[in-house]
Symmetry: C2
Subunit: 219 residues, 2 copies
Amino acid sequence: MTQSSSQRAITQLRQLIFSGALPAGSDHLESELAERLNMSRTPVREAALMLESQGLLEMRPRKGVRILPVSAGDMREIYEVLTELECLSAERAARHSVKESDLAALARSIEDMDVALRAGDLEQWAQADEGFHSELVRLGGNSRAINIAGMMQDQVRRARLVTLHMRPVPSQSNQDHRGVLEAIRRGDAEAARSIHKNHRDVAQKLILALLEKHRLHLL
Amino acid sequence: MTQSSSQRAITQLRQLIFSGALPAGSDHLESELAERLNMSRTPVREAALMLESQGLLEMRPRKGVRILPVSAGDMREIYEVLTELECLSAERAARHSVKESDLAALARSIEDMDVALRAGDLEQWAQADEGFHSELVRLGGNSRAINIAGMMQDQVRRARLVTLHMRPVPSQSNQDHRGVLEAIRRGDAEAARSIHKNHRDVAQKLILALLEKHRLHLL
DNA sequence: TCGCACTTTAACGTATACATTAAATTTCAC
DNA sequence: GTGAAATTTAATGTATACGTTAAAGTGCGA
């Protein structure tokens, strides 16, 4: 239960970054962060190294830890990788995950999105959408894909802080989700992949257009 | 020029792992590794954390650092991810990399493979093959994909220590490589992806069959 | 001999100390 | 006043010290 300081540092730094308390582009000395988290520099350094390897920050000698901004170009890269891994997962899920119980979480996320949209609650929708996508990857059963997609999803979440309220309401997006779910249910790997690919491509174009139009760097 | 001890530790530990000097499945105390590398535990720990995040080893409290074996199941996961990222890269390369100079390295790798095969030098062939695949990903221009594919390639290299001399001579593999190169050259993204996908799927099936047949865990 | 409580060991996780050196500041000649 | 050299500062990277605690070892009664 009691977790190590390093682990706490990772968790807390992530929270600080995702909440915007450590804004993109800002610099922070290791000693400042250590004081802030009530621990010595050692676990803070270890945590920073991990987060650096995950692309959330950059350690620059003598300049402190810089929280990395996410540019439109970065988001393009991230969406490209994420799309491939999710499509792989959709295909794999369709190929072997036949048990209906495995699909409950997916179905639930779809319902949650419907509910959230009817209530006009975008935050709720975003959370359910993230749930759908991460569950999809989980069903694919490839642990490397799961880890990598998780990292990419972290960045998508940061971008979503900005894009969520700029984009049109994603009212037809759930049709795709249902299509993917049905394809997996009937074991149609080709369809699962192609429907999801199309789903991601549409979303990607939309979000990237928004970001480039507004020349945004993001939290 | 003078690099940090942490960096050296990463480089040297990688060499020790890839050379088999630290065999898969073996355990090593942080203090042993520190002595071996002539440095204190601190940079060794930092290096081990990085290598752990890359899937090369595992840190187990009080049991030391364990060099992770790569099972057939692991290789399946690794090939799946690598295939997706390489296909993405082939497609992207075809879409934007038109300059002939960009393709020189690819063409060179293909020639090197031909030469190596004629000479019956499998090691040489493997090196050129790795060069082709990594250059392909580089041409895709997605820095995240490049990093991730690099990590996956690290594991493929370890597996190849075992599989290289068990597999049939890859005499027709270069046809695929040429096909991909030509597709990129003429900007045919669909073909680049599908030819490469087929290339990878064939190789993957072959290697996985070998591994499963011999119930191998690998260096 | 076996099993269990107790003691000892030692590996890790973290804190702290310290050497190095990039950056900032000051000094000083002109 | 300006620019370069010298000095000081301070943040990092690494070494070391130390407390905690899982695991190994020991002793002893049955």
